[in-house]
Amino acid sequence: MINLENVAFSYGGGNLLSEVSLRLAPGSFHFLTGPSGAGKSTFLKLCYGELAATTGRVTLFDRDVTSLNRDEIALTRRRIGVVHQDCQFLDHLPLLANVGLPLTVADKPLVQSDVMDLLTWVGLDKLTGALPPSLSGGERQRAALARAVIMGPDVILADEPTGNLDWEMSLRLLTLLTELNRMGKTILIATHDLNLIRQAKSLVAIRVLRISKRRLQLAGADL
């Protein structure tokens, strides 16, 4: 689904990432960890085509990203659900419209009851009319997850989805993500929260990747 082959990336200075290779198999559950500033967000952006690799090859659904035009990139993004680190909502639209936004931009009918089902699943069915700035951190993250899955994507990428949540709320979000994985979705979560990873290990089979010294490594039993 998502393939990186010997990818290097630099924002202009030296390489932030180099010799990175990864194959996200369908149905797999990956964690990506590393210290703050290691390049986790950057890595995810490479995975959904917001950034282009400096060298190497990124393949999304068997197509080289560099061969995709702007419209094809848009279409590809509809197949990848992303929970962005800062959620990226439209602050002037109520929650319901924000969660349904991927449908709207795809010119698909926004079926209210479908969106409501999703909002109920993440426990936000009472807040459909709320504007994003009025939501708490945990509510925002759950809303972002609802928006990420509304198009029924095969892959879900989440960037620090529990970043500023308390433990209880983190667990709740992790549960939602493991549920999605059981439904067959491929999941990649970037986090520096090792407790979260340990907790996940007890729920599903996961692989843990770590960015260290610009390389991507498979983390072992040291967690």
Binding site: A74, R77, Q88, L90, L93, V105
Partner: protein, 295 residues
């Protein structure tokens, strides 16, 4: 036309926030431009009409002016009438009498001019037949028979007038084009400003899989509607202003002739849809070009 309501409603659920207090600027500018365009159109029509009138009406008439000493006036007039009567292509010729000449001069000198005291030339009015006459040979014959007679077929002053009218019309067309161009430029700038103001919104839309055409559509609809509404307003005011101009009076002056006649009133009604078309193209071009530069 199912398309129109679909175009006018917001199927996109207002993904781009309302643009705030500066939105009316586009509408107001479009209104001002349409107002000007109505006048430019009226000018082009009036000058066109004028050029036609000068070219055709005056084509068919000419004057022989006879300046002779007191005693010879009647003699030369008779000779001129004789020459004209025997010239092929002249339908009729008639010497104007005292009161007719007075009428011609009235607008310039007032009604109380004692004509008899002035050495005025005698005017003979010629109406040309459909086949036309040979001006050159008529001139030669007139000089032979009546030395004080001069044929004035109006070309001397008609040509520069017709030329001026034609230029005026060209200027008016240029004005309409310039107004259209200025409108396109204004809309382009407004679109760019709107895109810049909504950079974050556009980023989010791209992230959730919006194509450029979808994003552009939100702006295109907005600016097209604003330009059309503004132009409708400006056109209405412009037509009203033209309608309220003093009616064409007996003198038939150029300024009072500045107006639309009959079906001509439909012409300015083309301005709002035209403004909408200009806005549509300008916004779409500007939006697509600017969006392509974003990641």
């Amino acid at each position: 036309m199912n398309l129109l309501p679909a175009f006018l409603t917001e199927p996109q659920g207002g993904v781009v926030p309302p643009s705030g207090p500066t939105a009316w600027l586009t509408t107001a500018t479009a209104a001002a431009m349409a107002f000007l365009a109505v006048f430019a159109l009226a000018l082009s029509i009036a000058s066109g009409r004028l050029a036609d009138r000068w070219a055709s009406a005056l084509d068919r008439s000419a004057t022989v002016r006879i300046s002779a000493p007191e005693g010879q006036m009647d003699l030369q007039t008779a000779a001129v009438l004789e020459v004209l009567a025997t010239t092929p292509g002249i339908a009729s010729a008639r010497a104007l009498d005292q009161s007719e000449q007075q009428k011609l001069l009235e607008p310039w000198f007032g009604p109380d001019l004692p004509l008899g005291d002035l050495p005025l030339p005698q005017l003979v009015e010629i109406t040309e037949g459909p086949e036309g006459y040979d001006r050159q040979s008529l001139r030669l014959r007139l000089t032979g028979e009546a030395p004080g007679a001069v044929l004035d077929d109006h070309t001397r002053w008609r040509a520069p007038l017709a030329d001026a009218a034609a230029r005026l019309r060209a200027l008016a067309y240029t004005c309409v084009l310039l107004i259209g161009g200025a409108m396109a430029a204004m809309i382009t700038l407004a679109t760019r400003a709107a895109l810049a103001a909504n950079a974050q919104v556009i980023k989010v839309l791209r992230l959730v899989g919006a194509k450029d055409t979808f994003i552009a559509r939100a702006f295109v609809r907005r600016f097209t509607l604003r330009a059309a509404a503004g132009a409708a307003l400006g056109t209405a005011f412009g037509m009203e202003a033209i309608y309220l101009l003093p009616a064409q009076d007996a003198a038939g002056g150029f300024l009072t002739g500045l107006g639309f006649q009959g079906a001509g009133w439909l012409l300015p009604l083309l301005l709002p849809p035209l403004a909408a078309l200009v806005a549509f193209i300008a916004t779409r071009t500007a939006a697509m070009a600017n969006l392509r530069r974003l990641p």
